[in-house]
Symmetry: none
Amino acid sequence: MIRFDEMRKLSQVTPSKIVLLVMDGVGGLPDDETDKSELETARCPNLDRLAAEGICGLTYTVSPGITPGSAPGHMALFGYDPSSYDLGRGIVEALGLDVEVNPGDVVARGNFCTVDDNGRITDRRAGRVPTETTRELCALLGEHVRVSQAEVTFFPGKEHRFVMRFRGENLSANIGDTDPQHEGMEPLEARPLDESASDTAAMINDAVSQAASLLADKHPANMLLLRGFSQHPDFPSVSDVFHLTPACIATYPMYRGVARVVGMDILPAGESLQDQLETLRENWDSYDYFFVHYKKTDARGEDGDFGGKVQAIEEFDAALPSILELKPDVLIVTGDHSTPAALAMHSWHTIPVVLWAKYCRRDRVTEFSEPSCLQGGLGQLHAVELMPLAMANALKLNKYGA
Amino acid sequence: MIRFDEMRKLSQVTPSKIVLLVMDGVGGLPDDETDKSELETARCPNLDRLAAEGICGLTYTVSPGITPGSAPGHMALFGYDPSSYDLGRGIVEALGLDVEVNPGDVVARGNFCTVDDNGRITDRRAGRVPTETTRELCALLGEHVRVSQAEVTFFPGKEHRFVMRFRGENLSANIGDTDPQHEGMEPLEARPLDESASDTAAMINDAVSQAASLLADKHPANMLLLRGFSQHPDFPSVSDVFHLTPACIATYPMYRGVARVVGMDILPAGESLQDQLETLRENWDSYDYFFVHYKKTDARGEDGDFGGKVQAIEEFDAALPSILELKPDVLIVTGDHSTPAALAMHSWHTIPVVLWAKYCRRDRVTEFSEPSCLQGGLGQLHAVELMPLAMANALKLNKYGA
């Protein structure tokens, strides 16, 4: 893995354009009946054409055996080693909701949840209360929760999700989650993980206890859970390291949040893949790197819906020709992790990847699928290597050393 | 990657012999018409025999996507991670010209260049002036350029190239290049990159300004550019780390220079591959590790001469039987990088490698080419792993741990 200080010296600005298409959770597992994975089952002539003309492989975003969350998965695809560039859950949620996070602020991801009369959690997501309810509850809490050391703000997300932001002096994010991640347990106290965090922890416990009183009669959303206390990371940007002018086209908050952390411009993505492609076309001349995120493959995988995921892949495939019409110099299609319908969750399995470019040294793979990509010229590689490979294939890298 | 301190403990001296044959820039890209790379096009029965009897793979010398210069490429082949063992341009050039560099000396790579009346660079290589002209100019500068803090010496290289050496007390090499790397700009001042380098920078600027006056009427070589200020690196030697007695047989200065940095004996290589093989035979009993460098594959690749590179491969192939007659215990054939004729420059593409030895566990590859090596038993690996693999196959490594 090349270091960023080295990459900064090698990268140069050229007119060539790179497009990274992320089919979230695209990797899968064979169906018991047919012995074919979602990708093998889908009819995807355009992906197959890319595979035939490009160079294929299998990638992992953290390390073999590790199932990544969406944030580390995407950090790796952007060229950032997730074990060095660690993002708290809170900051990712906050950035994805367009919450302003200043240096010094502390943010946490919140869930409204249900507790029983003994204070034990019976539903960590409060029956996935409607987004509208969460808006009302956030307004209520925002109006009444007051602590002396900081300004407290609640930002509603989708369904039961929200972000809690503390803005004040000398706050620390080194605080343990109040979410025990298991039902049947009571919410935890916010625990300081080092001495300097004890004031902040006390303040958070004060705020949570005020919130608990305000929510007491709001069953099923009669309590809240916090996790991923974090501050704004000070990471080098994609334009600093790779000298690219990057744009993100993603319909979901989380992915925009991660892209924003590495300094991408966030373009309006609309609601559908068609909207996203329209944005891509309109902004084609203004950027030299585009990250386009496609959610449906992961969503259907998480539902355990094999057929739905197959359909999502086919829908994505049908959109490829309009991207190729723009004549990108380098096109990469891959995922941030696998989400096999058989598991109905993110998994550790390697992810098919194709890199399509004029000088890619194509291999003999002619089908975009897990077993085919195993024969590909990229071999099995850490996803952080994809960004240097994209840069190389875009002829944007100078020679390393004399 | 095994650490050197571990390697030192594992390595033992035995009578077995290792030969590393570097076909510079051997990796390529398919021809548009035939869809076959230079290696696939060449008739190379001896390389194919090695592939069939040996274990094959694809290697990269820095990291995926990175196009290496010759120095880092070779450092990796010798077992030294180029990102830890970084060689300045100046030192590589100096060592390759057999310039004596003592601890404390500062050397830089020089170009004679052409500037216009406004002092702007119009040709960074002064029309590639003949080597003879560079000799005369270096003699002139050597006679007249004088600074108080150091002895300044100019060593002519090929065409427009030379090395400038400063020998004195308390010199620093932490100095920015005077070569802006672009035409249309003026040469830069030598800038100190830290405070301790400011005296050295002032001295260099003084020397450069004297040289500029002396060159003023020597159009097209009417100015000079310096880059890669560096000092002699203090790297552990191949004999220290691997307990080998290594020899280098290379016809070009740069490769001898890198080999000298890691402590190899530099044997007279003559002008041709035949000369090199003669040297190999004559010195067979005196060393247990030979690095033989073959330049022509890279030279033809850099020329964009597909057919010429094919021929260079075939010429190398024809020489293999005479090497095999010496009965090396381990023979490795690979390159330091790819130089596809299609790109006419070094590239980032992985490099075919074959390791031939009695116990190598041969794979099913029967042809030495990019697509065949992709199926090989070595997989895709960092070139720094080749030295431990060579040592292992030469039965020169003890067991790691109890």
